[in-house]
Symmetry: C2
Subunit: 237 residues, 2 copies
């Protein structure tokens, strides 16, 4: 698989052994996440906005109302930085200094711009639904023209990206292992709860079988990654 | 309680009925979170970095190695934007257009700068540990001088902030309620797993009773908020 070439902008400097630049590391971290944080600059002022996103190949996409300040600003092509972060665990060490967290994160750089072709916009919005909710487009009504007109899709080809991860137990100073102090990892994950049917749900309509990945107590990151992999290799799904 | 006065920078424009500016809304969203995403600008290029953070009063703090590129850049006083986001649920509607997410988010603006007084730096790092791990400072060894020297704490007084939230069921177009399409909310939350003891844990050392909030299957946001509230009102803890 390909790798990004780190520059001054994207090279992981601190704890550089935690940094990786290959797509085989970066793409699954992206595809396991629902939310990205997108940074951009207006008149020298930094902004960061959380938003749902998706990926096709080397390009990240996000969307929103055509009236959105962020999206209107990004339409023309502006530098952006996208962060995706999974908090996997709290690492409790025997000194404050060595406390840490386990995580998987990606920082991606590129130029955000409008997806202006209406057919490509529509195709990307379908891809977004398919990534999240397999089979759902068979159940919902199709998009209407004015809905597509009221929606903006932004694309950012990844020019550079780095992944940074930590896993495993704490690393303490040698003498501290003798302390009577609990140390280890408290795992954290995003978990699915019991679906709550809309109070206005038509009687007799069941939760879709094709959304079985969203069963209560499943991990969100695992099921999103499975959805993404099934889209790319449907024969294996 | 006080409220922030929104300006062009922080006013929630899209779906403005979801926007709030009062500390009673903003502070609990911050205090329930472990990770913030911090945006800053270097030579016109936006960056966004995920990091653990904490709050005292109207000021947000984060920390890291004194060698960190982000922190070294922020020491001198630079404009920053801090986003904190809780994904609470996936909202499945009867059209693609009305799919949404339930969330609680805060966007805060201010000027990041170094905490230069060593005593204040030390006090803030203690506060950080106390916020996360009640009673833990009794168990771990104290910080060493060279550890404090190797650590940078950054402070950002919140000049402006807005909260944006969504909760509840989907809102569909009236005719779509007749469709044979499941609709509702799939709840998502950050959940604690079974603690994993360090393989090098001294035999006989038990998981601390004062960290009982981190019991498996507890919600991370709830327990962090409880920790924060207990710090402010210890008599009630």
């Amino acid at each position: 698989m390909n790798a990004y070439t780190p520059t001054e902008r994207s090279r992981v400097k601190r704890l550089h052994e935690r940094g990786k630049y290959d797509e085989a590391t970066i793409f699954p971290i992206l595809d396991s996440a629902f939310i990205a944080h997108i940074a951009y600059v207006i008149d020298g002022q930094p902004f960061v906005t959380p938003t749902a996103f998706w990926r096709e190949g080397r390009t990240l996409y996000w969307h929103g109302s055509a009236a959105s300040r962020m999206l209107r600003f990004q339409e023309g092509g502006v530098p952006a930085c996208v962060a995706v972060t999974h908090l996997d665990g709290l690492v409790l060490a025997r000194s404050g200094f060595h406390h840490s967290i386990n995580y998987r994160s990606v920082m991606a750089f590129g130029t955000a711009h409008l997806v202006s072709d209406p057919r490509e916009e529509s195709r990307q919005l379908d891809l977004f639904v398919d990534r999240l909710y397999p089979g759902r487009r068979d159940d919902i009504r199709p998009n209407e023209i004015q809905e597509l007109k009221g929606t903006t899709v932004i694309a950012m080809e990844i020019e550079e990206a780095s992944a940074k991860t930590r896993s495993g137990p704490p690393k303490d100073d040698e003498p501290d292992y003798a302390l009577d102090c609990w140390a280890g990892v408290i795992p954290i994950s995003q978990i699915v709860g019991e679906p709550i049917a809309d109070p206005k749900l038509k009687p007799g309509v069941a939760f879709p079988k094709r959304l079985a990945g969203y069963a209560a107590s499943n991990r969100l990151d695992s099921l999103l990654l499975e959805n993404a992999e099934a889209l790319v290799s449907p024969a294996l799904a």
